[in-house]
């Protein structure tokens, strides 16, 4: 062993700017030495000028487990990927102790980031010391300027991921504009809709349709209105009756318009009654109480809850179930989904609501986003599947691709 032959000088001493930061750090890197052992120390001296005065910046044991980092995951993630940068020693420096004033230190900074003063260099000298034998060895010296970087390359994976996904979505929206006949799978809940309307017609009872509690700015309400359009057309064809009590006064005229158009499309403009689509209340609990009243009085044969709901979902679904109506719900409100699933015959879960809307409306924006999301998910699924297999065979580098700093 090297112990008896004195200290062996480690290779590759370097002082450099820490990459990908705001210009307040420098790093000192050097390779491991064969004489790294407990008792052998590295001492780093720093100064603001080439000739000194030197002050001790750090003293680290060459084998201390947490005496100093020997890897900065952010800085070396790429190198670590290919296992080039193992066996390195590494120190991050933020300040140099003041040569005269005790307990004071000079922080490193990149002068240009503060817009005054010249850029500064900082000087460092590394020594290796073994106290038991009194050996001392200068490993190297050097200087560097901290630089405020404009681009953080450690975030490149995220950048590529974001840009790639954004490009995907934008492309799909453009393609959907050109050709709105993109394939979207059949949503089973929509078949159940026809069934429910058929039953309502047989029983001669109305159909109740709710739009949720949000305004027109919400995606779920938009989706809900496009489903309403299709439903109203079917109802017009079957010569059944629809009730739409509204919560939001802005949603009301839009619903009226949609239902009128649907009746027109079905060739039954005479059957359209505007008063069956009406404003009920703009107040959560009063709205629920009034809707419950309608359910108990008019006993609709089918209840549809599409859109965004809050705590009232429970009361609506309960009363509807008690009246024996067929209930179909669709919401992206994850906290309310359980209640709808437990109390309704069919439920469109989360994104299914958007998909149903895109499927029915053929709106390029909705359709394009849906397709973009789908392809994004496909990439994700493939990455997770392949990645897990690689990780299982101890090829850990895939995890580093997803590392965030």
């Amino acid at each position: 062993m090297a112990l008896a032959q004195g200290l062996v000088k480690p290779e590759g001493f370097e002082v450099k700017d820490r990459p990908d930061d705001g210009g307040r750090w420098l790093v000192v890197v050097w390779r491991e030495s064969p004489s790294d052992a407990p008792g052998a120390k590295y001492v780093l001296f720093g100064s603001t000028s080439e000739g000194g005065p030197w002050t001790q910046v750090a003293e680290v044991d060459s084998k201390a487990p947490e005496g100093f980092q020997n890897s900065n995951p952010k800085m070396f993630w790429l190198a670590d990927l290919f296992e080039q940068a193992k066996h390195r020693h590494y120190l991050e420096i933020r300040s140099i102790p003041h040569p005269t004033k005790a307990n004071h230190s000079i922080p490193l900074w990149n002068a240009s980031s503060r817009s005054t003063g010249p850029k500064r260099s900082y000087y460092f000298r590394l020594e290796m010391v073994r106290e038991s034998t009194g050996e001392r060895l200068v490993v190297g010296s050097g200087d560097a300027q901290p630089i405020a970087n404009l681009w953080d390359s450690s975030k490149s994976t995220i950048f590529l991921g974001c840009v790639g996904f954004c490009a995907l979505v934008l492309t799909m929206i453009r393609r959907a504009r050109k050709n709105p006949d993109m394939f979207v799978r059949r949503i089973p809940g929509l078949d159940a809709v026809d069934e429910a309307i058929g039953r309502a017609t047989e029983m001669g009872k109305p159909v109740l349709y709710l739009n949720g509690l949000l305004g027109m700015e919400s995606i779920s309400t938009i989706a809900s209105t496009s489903i309403l359009g299709r439903l109203a057309r079917r109802i017009a064809q079957y010569d059944s009756q629809i009730l739409v009590p509204c919560y939001d006064p802005v949603v009301l005229p839009i619903c009226q318009e949609i239902v009128r158009e649907a009746y027109l499309d079905a060739g039954r403009p005479d059957a359209f009654r505007e008063e069956s689509i009406y404003f009920l209340s703009n107040d959560q609990f009063s709205y629920v109480a009034a809707v419950d009243g309608i359910m108990m009085r008019d006993k609709p044969a089918a209840n549809f809850y599409m859109g965004y709901y809050y705590a009232e979902s429970l009361l609506l679904a309960e009363t509807g179930a008690a009246t024996g109506a067929i209930q179909i719900a669709g919401t992206d409100s994850v906290t309310q989904l359980p209640f709808f699933i437990a109390a309704c015959d069919y439920t469109l879960i989360g994104e299914e609501l958007y998909a149903a809307s895109a499927y029915l409306s053929r709106d390029p924006m909705q359709l394009g986003s849906l397709k973009g999301l789908d392809y994004g998910k496909a990439v994700l699924i493939a990455m997770l599947l392949v990645g897990t297999l690689l990780v299982s065979f101890e090829l850990d580098f895939v995890r580093k691709l997803f590392a965030t700093f």
Partner: protein, 249 residues
């Protein structure tokens, strides 16, 4: 006019959106400063907009009272309560605080929580109502449990079973009795060790939460995040314009 009404806001959204999409990729001090500055501005403008949003509620109810439509009396109640707390908010009062000795001050901070009219209303009117509102559902959930939550399909069955596991797992004595029973049977050595059953309920609950629940929630999260990014993107590129409000120009 279209330029002012449509082009400028869309351009503003685009420029700010792109800048703040790129901002986090730059570690330069300037980028941090930019974020700090804009964050403060947005916080200010957002709170002004919040104040105005509340103000528009006020206008809606004022209109209701003027028209004397159905339930205008309740609007009057609402508005008078609104004025009550607003006036109380500006009601100066004496507070024993060494910092402002003898001064009549308007005070929100510190420990003088109850000692102002404003907070008196908060604690005695707002807080009881707020706490009661959703506790009413505690009753309805029980009634729905009996009347509506049916195992009408395989899916609903699975849901209810999982819910029952969770509910039982959240009862501290869910399996304590089983454990106690097993403790008395300890002498019988051919039986399996039932004392472990004490934590069986919570253990199964934790497994359901950390394994299948976690997996499903993570997948939902992926969908939500990708959807959110797509929405942000549509906003930045002016494809989604609903935030601009109604009107066709």
């Amino acid at each position: 006019m279209r330029f002012f009404k449509r082009t400028i806001p869309l351009a503003l959204t685009f420029v700010i959106g792109v800048v703040f999409f790129l901002q986090p990729f730059s570690p330069h001090p300037f980028s941090g400063k930019l974020l700090e500055l804009f964050s403060n501005w947005v916080a200010i403008v957002a709170s002004v907009s919040l104040v105005l949003g509340l103000g528009s509620l006020f206008l809606v109810h004022l209109g209701k009272i003027r028209k004397q439509g159905a339930g205008w009396g309740y609007s009057a109640v609402l508005l008078s309560c609104f004025f009550w707390i607003s006036v109380a908010g500006f009601w100066p009062m004496k507070v024993d605080d060494p910092q402002h000795e003898g001064q009549t001050i308007w005070k929100i901070g510190g420990d003088g929580v109850i000692e102002s009219h404003y907070f008196w209303i908060y604690w005695n009117v707002y807080r009881p109502c707020g706490a009661t509102m959703f506790s009413i559902l505690g009753f309805f959930i029980a009634s729905a449990a009996f009347r509506a939550f049916r195992a009408r399909s395989l899916e609903a069955t699975l849901l209810l079973v999982s819910a029952v596991i969770i509910m039982v797992g959240n009862i501290p004595w869910g399996f304590e009795w089983g454990g106690g029973l097993a403790g008395s049977l300890k002498g019988v050595n051919w039986l399996p060790d039932f004392t472990k059953a004490q934590t069986l309920g919570p253990d199964i609950r934790d497994w359901v939460l950390t394994v299948p629940n976690m997996a499903a929630k993570r997948a939902i999260l992926f969908g939500v995040v990708l959807g959110g990014i797509a929405t942000s993107l549509r906003i930045i590129f002016g494809i989604e314009r609903s935030y601009l409000g109604g009107g066709r120009d």
